[in-house]
């Protein structure tokens, strides 16, 4: 039996995007301001949990057909890749590199390989928290 949650569902359609945007902002702000992969990932997972509250597990997995365990694996590979990449440049493990790059619209920005490491953290956090919530939710 599903009750009619029209207010909740409509509100979440609006709020979801704001939360996801905020989590992405926090993720990218990590190098200069408080934030980073962990809190960004948790907040994205929080947005997905809101979606789970408004709808049911089947609908959500239809909207976002991710396998969160694979996502965890990809995150780990990102982290391993950035840290082990240092080996091929003959510097100690986990040595990061950065540079300034001119992009067409954004202008000059500094890119750092630590961001890719952080992306790995982000994916692992989203993957693990969603796996936990989904497995507990699906359990009967």
């Amino acid at each position: 039996m599903r009750s009619n949650n029209i207010i909740l569902e409509t509100a979440i359609k609006v709020i979801l995007f704001i939360i996801v945007l905020f989590s992405v902002y926090i993720f990218f702000a990590g190098h200069y301001y408080p934030g980073g992969g962990f809190i960004g990932g948790l907040m994205t997972a929080g947005a997905l949990v809101l979606l789970l509250i408004a709808y049911d597990i089947k609908t959500v997995s239809m909207i976002l057909p991710f396998n969160y365990r694979i996502m965890t694996g990809i995150g780990l590979l990102f982290a391993i890749g950035t840290s082990a990449g240092a080996i091929f440049f003959n510097v100690p493990f986990l040595t990061h590199a950065f540079g300034h790059i001119d992009l067409p619209i954004l202008g000059e920005i500094s890119l750092h390989t630590a961001t890719i490491f952080d992306l790995g953290v982000y994916l692992v956090v989203v993957g693990v928290s969603m796996t936990i919530i989904q497995t507990i939710g699906e359990d009967e």
Binding site: R69, I70, G73, L76, L77, I80, N90, V91, P92, F93
Partner: protein, 493 residues
């Protein structure tokens, strides 16, 4: 640059990450794990050789200079332990192929197995006390999963106990590191050691030394803190049990050795005497357990406790003979404990029971199993040509030289009782009347026997080739006896 040190951690980690993508492809899981494991052994061999020729190796991760970044340090002690870990984990892995069962293999058994190796290898090679904590957690989390995987009733019950004990001891670890940090203001082990010797170990540092003994004693099962072990280790399936018995407690022993030889050696009259008393009591408790039980798994589990006591007694004596003996015995014990658990596991697979009173006459139909067990049992007790001998001799010699006659006598008597406990299994389980067991035909004895035979051969080679191996071991003992070697290698002054 010297990225060789990271490889024993990186290879299993990479294997585990790849295996997450293929949970249902069992053959691929087996092959990738086995390849990763062999690669780790090869890398570990290179590492041992490199440390032997070029001295202590250190790697400043992400290029930050020594006290400020995380440093991985590989002296001979940790390189040898990494090599042993790789070999033991490889044999447990191939034993798992035919014994762990589809259910577990389908549910991320091999990835978690690899994560456990990441944790153990990391704990052995790190040179940073907080990083040691992190690798402890990597290892413990994997061990929680391996312990509970399968979800039988006994596993669930024992996992709760094991988890509770380890969560408490991990919290205590963090608190202890916080105390230490507030006094010495650094986390790098070499730097801590230098700072401790600058201020000459005041009483508060001796308190921290005892706290570390409690933390690592809980992980390594020394006398008053061993209570969780007989129950928890009784629960998991055999290859997991062999892995736990051979590796997990030894990480605790390694950590006690590291902290007590590198940091807290200035007030030996208090800290090391305490360690010595506890070690002797550990041996006594261990042998009491080993001769009391009629359950084959319990007998071997109590033998782990005995070995922990013997090794720590060697460390507590603080002379170079005893250090050499302890290292020799530690490596011997990792190999032989894995072999014994695997052999006992085969006997359980054949007979379907772990109660010694219900087994007999196995040697008539399984002579290979019987004689392998016999050799492993003699090696455990320390009969001369085999590997347990030289370690115990050096420990006893060191004990007499250090004038701890009581401890040395206890070590000698314990050998006798250990021999009695494992021979009890041999006499009651392998001799006697031939029996037919219900699930005898299902046990793939030939495949399962490969791993323990490899380990027993290694143990025999290790015992016979003492002359060839001794230079490596004494190099490891030198570092333990003289912390300045370690400090200079890391801080490069």
């Amino acid at each position: 640059m010297n990225n060789l040190i990271i490889l024993p951690i990186l290879i299993p980690f990479l294997a585990a990450a790849i295996l997450i993508f293929l949970p249902k492809k069992i053959m691929a899981q087996r092959w990738i794990s086995a390849l990763g494991s062999v690669a780790t052994i090869v890398v570990a061999l290179f590492l041992v050789q490199k440390v032997h020729t070029n001295g202590i190796q250190s790697l400043n991760i992400s290029s930050w200079e020594a006290p400020f970044g995380i440093t991985l340090v590989s002296d001979m002690f940790s390189a040898l332990l990494i090599l042993t870990t790789s070999i033991v984990s490889f044999t447990c892995l191939i034993y798992s192929f035919k014994s762990i069962g589809k259910e577990r293999e389908n549910h991320y058994y091999y990835p978690v197995f690899n994560f456990l190796i990441v944790g153990v290898n990391g704990a052995f090679s790190t040179g940073d006390i907080f990083n040691l904590f992190v690798f402890f957690e990597v290892m413990l989390m994997s061990s929680y999963v391996l312990l509970v995987l399968g979800g039988t009733k006994i596993q669930l019950r024992e996992s709760i106990k094991y988890l509770l004990v380890n969560v408490i001891s991990s919290a205590l670890f963090v608190i202890t590191v916080a105390y230490l940090y507030s006094i010495v203001g650094t986390l790098n082990m070499a730097h801590i050691s230098a700072r401790v010797s600058e201020i000459g170990q005041p009483a508060i540092l001796s308190v921290i030394a005892v706290l570390f003994l409690i933390v690592f004693g809980l992980k390594g099962a020394i006398f008053p803190l061993y209570f969780w072990m007989p129950g928890s280790y009784n629960a998991p399936p055999i290859p997991v049990l062999a892995l736990f018995g051979a590796l997990l407690t030894k990480v605790g022993v390694y950590s006690i050795t590291r902290t007590y030889t590198l940091f807290f050696y200035h007030d030996a009259g208090f800290t090391h005497v305490l360690l010595q008393v506890l070690a002797i009591l550990t041996i006594i408790i261990g042998v009491i357990g080993a001769i009391a039980y009629w359950d084959v798994k319990k007998i071997i589990i109590y033998n782990i406790i005995v070995a922990v006591g013997v090794i720590l007694f060697g460390i507590s004596v603080m002379n170079i003979d005893a250090f050499t003996g302890s290292i020799y015995y530690l490596i011997h014990d990792m190999i032989i404990k894995a072999a014994l658990f695997l052999l006992v596991g085969i006997a359980i697979a054949i007979t379907g029971t772990s109660n010694l009173r219900n087994m007999s006459g196995l040697i008539k139909r399984y002579p290979g199993l019987g004689w392998t067990y016999f050799i492993a049992a003699l090696a455990l007790a320390g009969i001369p040509p085999l590997s347990g001998f030289i370690g115990k001799v050096l420990i006893v010699q060191g004990g007499f030289a250090g004038e701890s006659y009581l401890g040395a006598a206890v070590v000698l008597i314990s050998s006798l009782l250990v021999l009695f406990s494992v021979m009890k299994i041999f006499i009651n389980g392998f001799w006697g009347d031939d029996q037919n067991y219900a699930n005898e035909d299902k046990a793939p004895v030939k495949w399962l026997l490969i791993s323990p035979v490899i380990l027993v051969i290694l143990s025999a080679v290790y015992g016979i080739g003492t002359e060839a191996i001794l230079p490596y071991i004494s190099q490891a003992a030198e570092t333990l006896a003289d912390p300045s070697l370690y400090i200079d290698a890391v801080l490069k002054e």
